[in-house]
Symmetry: C2
DNA sequence: GTCGTCTCTGGGAGCGCTTCCAAAGTTAGG
DNA sequence: CCTAACTTTGGAAGCGCTCCCAGAGACGAC
């Protein structure tokens, strides 16, 4: 008789009411007498009843599930070399935990992953999507939006501003960093950037140029946001511009690489060369010397993305957000 | 007529076959004529049909979804201060991408999170669970198993060995690390551990004792796996045992903290004091001096967990795995 | 007493799919 | 030509749930 998990029918039978009434109680709807409600609740408890989500989804067409899609290669070193990804998730989770939404995670931007996302989206299993755009432009963005599901972006893309997004004030942060170097009286400031096709690279470069004004041609070296890239870029820069006295690295990882190259080259930081990073990763306070860097509220970005999506799901019209960044002064500059 | 997404009924109608036949084609079952198959496939393509997963789940009771549950506080610093978590996910994702399984992520071990997991599990929405146990013991483990869903563990728990797990050879790695210090002729080796109630702490401590043999009382200081904890522990140890000449820190983060404390105390590494860490995090090669540490294949752990779960789902009987760790020699020891 | 109005309940319909069964068609063996 | 397989098909049943509607009471106003 009691094969498998109990159904609402069994709950109703035990409570001595109809299926409809039991359903009303379970979904906390009005128009149920106190007596009936109590009886159903009791039956639910006794049977250990948990509604079957698939059956519910079939009729309500909601799924209590949203996805975080991280485009970019599944083995992108940024995924693990920096805690960005994990922090965003923690932020998202904090907000979702307050709701009944569950988080589905989808990594990778290859054809196969894209197909699966779309399938999942269209097979109706996702109520909404958060897109974390690591690389520059990505067709995925369009795909998600075309499917009609509410979509929120983390960061902006190279091809225009999405309808709903959360971003850090990369430009403002970079400006503050370089202004600080300027105020310190640094004369020959060089910049190490991320990949050229990356929106973040552009934003941070813009901020850098904002600070530099229309002065002499700024020295810019493109790298890859990673430690090794920063290291190599710094070596090249030292070679090409031996008289440089300050470096603005667009990521802490690259700043760490620059620090290493400077150390090996015998330059003292900050006496000979000042170094500023960007991100304020947890270990930035522990480099030698401690790294002056631009803090961006990564966890908050995650939370705000989630909040925005929840609002969208609730029929709201959230406004996109640019979260403030701030310069954290330590000893490297 | 074509309101909303197409159903299999519409596909069948367009192909001129019955719903049953269409279903057979979609699920790639035998006993369908070539002509019928072609017609259905054509209709599927024309309509852009994607089966409704909820409806399918309702009858098949499978959901093509597994969960990664990370017990421990949702804002545990280990989640973001080290890339462990992200690496495991990348590893899992690599395997899952080859299947049709999707990944659901559940963080946090508080009452609420637990309830939700159970609900999701019992409401039939998860085909299996991977549990990543950050802290020592956790009732969650039992809960998941009781629900009857296939469960795979990452790491072992304090209360016995789970049925299916993947773990790193923490004990062996620690033994190798300390043996290396011994071989170098270090006389006064101290150990900085993780939290006492942690299985990893125990395993690595056992390995350390294995190497030390039954000699003099080993000097052990408990900390928290974090940089700051390592820093403080190192300061205390220097105070209590000024003559120490080697440190085995049970995590790279703590090793980094120890390095910082030693630098501030004016001790040279490795001349005065040798330092060995554990984890081989990406930045370990970039500390000053580069950190000798024990590498553990984190990504592989994720992959193996996923593989094991997939096997379980397929009715297999996988065997638990202890992945090898290896000592990576750099300059700090 | 009659008429609305509001509260509460039962039960049918149906979400989109798979699964089963019976029937029809096909083939080969005797 | 008949029988015993096998192949192929259509269609009914039903997964567990929500939604809707009709109807039964209860209650006050006229």
């Amino acid at each position: 008789m009691k094969r498998g998990r109990p159904t609402i029918e069994q709950v109703a039978a035990l409570a001595g009411v109809s299926r409809g009434t039991a359903s009303r109680v379970v979904n906390d709807e009005p128009y149920v007498s106190a007596a009936a409600r109590a009886a159903v609740l009791k039956a639910v408890r006794e049977l250990g009843y948990v509604p079957n989500q698939a059956a519910r989804s079939l009729v309500t067409r909601t799924h209590e599930t949203v996805a975080l899609v991280v485009s970019g290669e599944a083995d992108d070193p940024r995924l693990s070399e920096d805690p960005f990804f994990a922090e965003v998730i923690v932020g998202i989770n904090a907000v979702l935990a307050e709701t009944d939404l569950e988080l589905m995670l989808m990594l990778g931007a290859n054809e196969r992953a894209r197909t699966r996302l779309l399938r999942r989206l269209r097979s109706g299993q996702l109520d909404g999507v958060m897109l974390l755009a690591l690389p520059g432009a990505d067709p995925l963005c369009r795909l998600a939006e075309e499917s009609g599901a509410p979509t929120v972006y983390g960061g902006r893309t190279m091809d225009g501003e999405p309808r709903y997004f959360v971003d850090a004030d990369n430009r403002g942060g970079a400006r503050k960093a370089v202004e600080h170097l300027l105020v310190q009286g640094r004369q020959r400031i060089v910049t190490i950037t991320g990949p050229v096709d990356n929106e973040v690279t552009h934003a941070r470069l813009s901020g850098c140029l904002d600070a530099l004004g229309g002065g002499a041609d700024p020295v810019v070296m493109h790298a890859d946001f990673l430690e090794s890239g920063g290291y190599q870029a710094m070596q090249s820069l030292l070679h090409a511009h031996p008289d440089l006295d300050a470096v603005f690295a667009q990521s802490d990882n690259m700043a760490a690489g620059a620090l290493r190259a400077l150390r090996e080259a015998g330059r003292r930081v900050p006496d000979d060369v000042a170094v500023v990073g960007f991100d304020d990763l947890p270990w930035a306070r522990h480099t030698a010397p401690p790294l002056t860097t631009v803090n961006q509220p990564i966890r908050a970005m995650g939370s705000e993305m989630a909040r925005m999506l929840v609002a969208l799901l609730g029929g709201g019209e959230p406004t996109s957000l640019i979260l403030p960044t701030r310069l954290v002064l330590r000893e490297s500059a």
